[in-house]
């Protein structure tokens, strides 16, 4: 328990010290979505048709921005090796760090999604599935991305490699997430894709922290 508090509090404190860094992902999200609007005709009714894809891709790209830093600083300043020696469970530390990452970069995006969706002309009935889907899907990205960040932590060109490794792994998340919104747009039930998202989230939360811990150990060797 004290380890949970220690890691979580440290992540929040570090985020508070580098506020600009954590403002970038939500800002990036907002800018990507608005740029897409500028790319279309003014008040194009077609915009709503593409809104699910735009919002989801924007959200995932925005969350990618901050993933590279997840373990890099800890590896450089020696925190990682002290954690390895400390006897606390590394997979637990990974879990807490990914959770903090979601809170700092995923949650703001979930909260920003509804107003942006309104800008794109998404009908009100689709807002619920969009926000719920993002609430289930963005933690997947924090955990999948955390695993890949752990794989690439010691690499000089890890930053460029990270999105290439993450994106194929999140294809199902994007399909179900955007699919839920589209289903709601067409007046269909969005339940099934949301359940699939929940299933993927469960799998991600339970399995990936262990694999990420193995990757971090490997990165040290």
């Amino acid at each position: 328990m004290s380890a949970f508090v220690a890691i979580f509090a440290r992540e929040l404190k570090l985020a508070a010290r580098a506020r600009a860094e954590w403002l970038m992902p939500p800002l990036f999200f907002v800018i990507v979505v608005t740029l897409f609007g500028f790319g279309a005709r003014p008040n194009d009714p077609q915009l709503a048709a593409f809104a699910p894809a735009v919002l989801w891709v924007g959200a995932l790209l925005a969350a990618l921005l901050s993933l590279e830093r997840l373990y890099r600083a800890d590896q450089e300043d020696g925190t990682l090796e002290q954690l390895l020696v400390s006897g606390t469970s590394l997979s637990f530390a990974v879990f807490v760090k990914s959770l903090a990452h979601w809170l700092l970069s995923g949650l703001p995006i979930v909260l920003l999604a509804a107003p942006l969706a309104a800008m794109l002309g998404l009908p009100a009935a689709a807002l619920g599935p969009l926000v719920l889907g993002l609430a289930l899907g963005t933690p997947c990205l924090s955990f999948i991305g955390g695993f890949v960040a752990a794989l690439t932590v010691g690499l000089p060109r890890g930053g460029a490699l990270l999105p290439v490794l993450v994106l194929p792994l999140i294809v199902p998340v994007i399909i179900f997430g955007a699919g839920a919104v589209r289903a709601a747009q067409q007046g269909l039930d969005a339940g099934a894709p949301l359940y699939f998202l929940a299933a993927i989230l469960t799998l991600t939360l339970t399995v990936l922290p262990w694999l990420a811990a193995a990757a971090l150990r490997n990165a040290f060797e």
């Binding site: 695993f147 890949v148 794989l151 690439t152 010691g154 690499l155 000089p156 060109r157 890890g158 490699l161 290439v164 490794l165 994106l167 194929p168 792994l169 294809v171 199902p172 399909i175 179900f176 699919g179 099934a192 894709p193 699939f196 993927i200 799998l203 399995v207 990936l208 694999l211 193995a214 990757a215 490997n218 990165a219 060797e221």
Partner: protein, 257 residues
């Protein structure tokens, strides 16, 4: 059960010698089977009554697609073995199968697109199998890219193994999600047991092509594994002996001719 053969095979020098003996046979068998498959498929087999000659692409496409998935499984299983038993040979097999698998995935995609143009009227259709194959290619390229980024061969292999395992879990989820998303592909024809939907003239070369392609992959992976082993074990005595013997053979051959 006696496992000594397994341990002996797991040691790099004995595997190297085993591969040295086996690979030529595999290569020749693959060549013969593929020659028959392509001649039989591209020349002898009758044209399809609906798809005309365009169907002939299956003699390349189907084996390539089958192999692309199998090799990913092989890569992930070899990766798991490498992680659990820390077996160097498994690391080498895993790394060796990645480029082979990626090539066949690319071939399956390319032939699928060429087939799609006359059949569907477009080179690219977002159907379940083609799209999964594309994601599979990304996964392969991810493993290859990750491997290239590491300096230490051991750390590289272990990181790639972890990625390959996660990718293996991901592949069926991708396939399922894409299928849910949209389904628009000719149903598979050869796996309908009981009532074959494909005539024997067409089927025989296809089976030969499948087997030939698998053997070709086995050949390529064995040879790549051998190279990887030589590279990883450079500086050890058996590699020096192996290289000295190879150099001796080459010199001997030059004298005779």
């Amino acid at each position: 059960m006696n496992w000594t053969w397994f341990h002996r095979l797991g040691s790099p020098p004995s595997f190297y010698r085993f591969a040295e003996r086996l690979a030529p046979w595999l290569g020749v068998a693959a060549l013969l089977l593929l020659a028959y498959a392509w001649y039989g498929g591209l020349v002898l087999a009758p044209a399809d009554y609906q798809q005309k000659d365009a169907f002939r692409v299956i003699y390349v496409h189907v084996p390539a697609a089958a192999v692309s998935l199998s090799l990913y499984v092989l890569m992930a299983v070899a990766g798991a073995v490498a992680l659990i038993w820390r077996m160097k040979l498994a690391e080498c097999v895993m790394i060796a199968s990645a480029p082979v698998g990626a090539s066949f995935t690319a071939l399956a995609l390319l032939t699928g697109m060429l087939w799609g143009k006359p059949m569907w009227g477009a080179y690219w259709v977002w159907d379940a199998r083609l799209t999964s194959e594309l994601v599979l290619l990304f996964l392969y390229l991810g493993v290859i890219g990750l491997h290239a980024a590491f300096e230490d061969a051991r750390a590289a292999a272990r990181a790639c193994a972890l990625l390959a395992i996660v990718g293996l879990v991901n592949v069926p989820i991708v396939h399922f999600s894409v299928e849910w998303w949209n389904s628009l592909h000719q149903g598979s024809t050869i796996l309908k047991f009981g009532k074959p939907a494909i005539s024997a003239d067409m089927a025989r070369p296809l089976y030969a092509g499948l087997l030939g392609t698998y053997l070709l992959c086995a050949y390529a992976i064995l040879r790549r594994t051998q190279n990887e082993l030589l590279l990883r074990e450079r500086g050890t005595r058996w590699v020096r002996e192996q290289l000295a013997a190879a150099a001796g053979n080459r010199d001997g051959g030059a004298h005779v001719s």
